[in-house]
């Protein structure tokens, strides 16, 4: 049955249905509906809900719940996610699963509470100190939000690593029809690393301090090999009208939603524009882009930022093709009409350039 829900509430419901039993949060717009939904739903479900004293406390409560064996989640937005980076680094170092939601708002600093995609670098580069990565899932609709939540908990448990769900203020706030019928609770994993008290087994020690540099290097390589496995196995993306495309838009999340509207208009003008939408921002669908570059010369990157993912597109293409970019930072939401005009200009310029080359 379909229900009309905000992205924030739908995400919270999906988390509970995915077996999340601990939620810790601190108020920040535009994700408060998630915390408020959990305040009732988690308690009704017999789980743990704490409104923490800070984002730092929340992520450390998540770490505690995770090391005790529970599926745990926290959520926040930009400034609050910055505060959580310390804890995310420790989760990665300790190899503990957790899900962290970022409903991105305009930054830097206090910024504003409008939708933005300017936390891309923070999410995909680790974010905190040290050599580590987190899987980053970027859904593009309220329904898809509910689909990435069980996936996020599953990947977190599977790899024993924090997973980031990167939404934005619009995705969190907007209401769409959503159903949970297809949601399958991820399986429980055998957890031989959690702290339960040393009963019928030797005591366990979970720590990220490794004074011996050789041992610490080995720990880092072990993490590195895990991140390589993620890169091999967990890339997810969606393509749209790419079969005959002469120009491919690269956009994610709500940006891809806007781009889809723009592409529909462009197709009416007979401009052969398609789209690749990364669903995992890390690991990034680099191979898929390289593959496309065999037949497509022009890639148009669109972001609700001054340009962050565009770096990954350039790195993926390894100098092949021509990368165009359009983005608006600071919480501005371009319309599909605006974007279609920009893309069509780039299309015509690219066509003119190709003709010049032929001559």
């Amino acid at each position: 049955m379909k229900r009309l829900m905000s992205g924030n509430a739908a995400l919270a419901e999906a988390a509970v249905l995915s077996g999340c039993t601990c939620y810790f949060g601190y108020p920040i717009t535009p994700q408060n509906e998630l915390t408020e939904y959990m305040a009732k739903r988690m308690v009704d479900a017999g789980g743990v809900f704490i409104q923490s004293e800070s984002e730092i406390a929340a992520i450390n409560m998540v770490l505690g719940a995770s090391v005790a064996g529970a599926r745990a989640m926290t959520s926040s937005s930009g400034p609050g996610i910055s505060l959580k980076q310390e804890g995310i680094s420790y989760l990665a170092a300790d190899e503990l699963p957790a899900v962290i939601v970022n409903m991105v708002r305009g930054g830097p600093g206090m910024g504003n509470i409008s939708p933005a995609q300017s936390d891309y670098f923070q999410a995909t580069r680790g974010g905190g100190h040290g050599d580590y990565k987190t899987i980053v899932l970027a859904p593009g609709s309220v329904q898809e939000l509910t689909e990435v939540v069980p996936l996020a908990f599953d990947l977190a448990d599977k790899y024993r690593n924090p997973v980031i769900i990167l939404g934005d203020g619009m995705l969190g706030q907007m209401m769409e029809p959503v159903d949970f019928d297809g949601l399958i609770r991820p399986p429980d994993y055998e957890k031989d690393y959690i702290l339960t008290g040393a009963k019928d087994r030797p005591p366990r020690k979970v720590h990220s301090l490794v004074f011996d540099t050789k041992l610490h290097e080995e720990h880092n390589w072990k993490l590195f090999r895990k991140f390589q496995r993620m890169e091999q196995n967990e890339v997810r993306y969606e393509t749209y009208l790419t079969d005959d495309a002469e120009m491919v838009v690269v956009a994610y999340g709500i940006g891809a939603r806007i781009a889809k509207g723009a592409i529909k208009r462009l197709r009416q003008e007979d401009l052969k524009v398609g789209m690749i939408r990364p669903i995992t921002l890390w690991p990034f669908p680099a191979k898929a882009l390289r593959e496309m570059a065999k037949t497509v010369n022009d890639f148009f990157v669109f972001e609700l930022s001054a340009g962050q993912m565009v770096d990954d597109v350039r790195l993926s293409l390894e100098g092949k093709g021509h990368v165009h970019f359009y983005g608006r930072p600071g919480g501005i939401i371009p319309t599909p009409l605006e974007l279609s005009r920009i893309i069509s200009r780039h299309c015509y310029q690219a066509q003119a350039g190709a003709k010049r080359k032929k001559r």
């Binding site: 450390n60 719940a65 005790a68 040393a198």
Partner: protein, 247 residues
Amino acid sequence: MKTVYARPKLLKEARFHYCPGCGHGIINRLLMEVIEEMDLQEKAICVAPAGCGMLLYNYFEIDVLESAHGRGAAVATGIKRVRPENLVFSYQGDGDLAAIGTAEGFHAANRGENITVIFVNNGVYGMTGGQMAPTTLLDQVTTTTPAGRDSVIAGHPVRICEVYSMLDGASYLERVAVNSPPAVVKTKKAIAKAFQRQLDGCGFSLVEILSPCPTNWKMDSVESCEWIDEVMSKQFPLGVMKEVPCL
């Protein structure tokens, strides 16, 4: 022959990294003695700090998680809420609990989390080389207060037990010391009481332990122990600061 003392089995036969005359070794041993005597080794989960106590996972034969600097009370909260049947305690120094982790400790106490904080107060940042801590006494010389702590520029020593005693969620707060045999016996009793209260579900408990740091105090071990009696405990009076009857 009657055995009057033996090393607790839960304390590994490792060589402590602590400096000569340091109180951490005594406190580590007391914790393992109490847990052994109360038969809690299968229930205990310790949250270790950043600071001199951070390597205690090398000595304790119980489950240990090492937390980020100052976050012990928040991490312990997460563990305890998931596993209320376990004995969960954090081990934190003065910089850890009274500076960087002020919010986490304060709010865990205020929520009345059913955890125990073992708060080791030696008035300095020991592991990093003897910088001023929030608990450093006025006029005390440290590497960052070379002319002595001046309240005008560096504030006043923080009395955690007194501050927490104002919080309705805090149920048992006692300040003890480990600078003499009778004081050590009292400390052991305080730890056992705090743990028992946690098992009985009485809510937040904290044992503050005045602990010598001869290396950074630039004193010998005997002087350090005397200094706790003569100077430090004037600023941090010993005794039960708060004890709410357990329902």
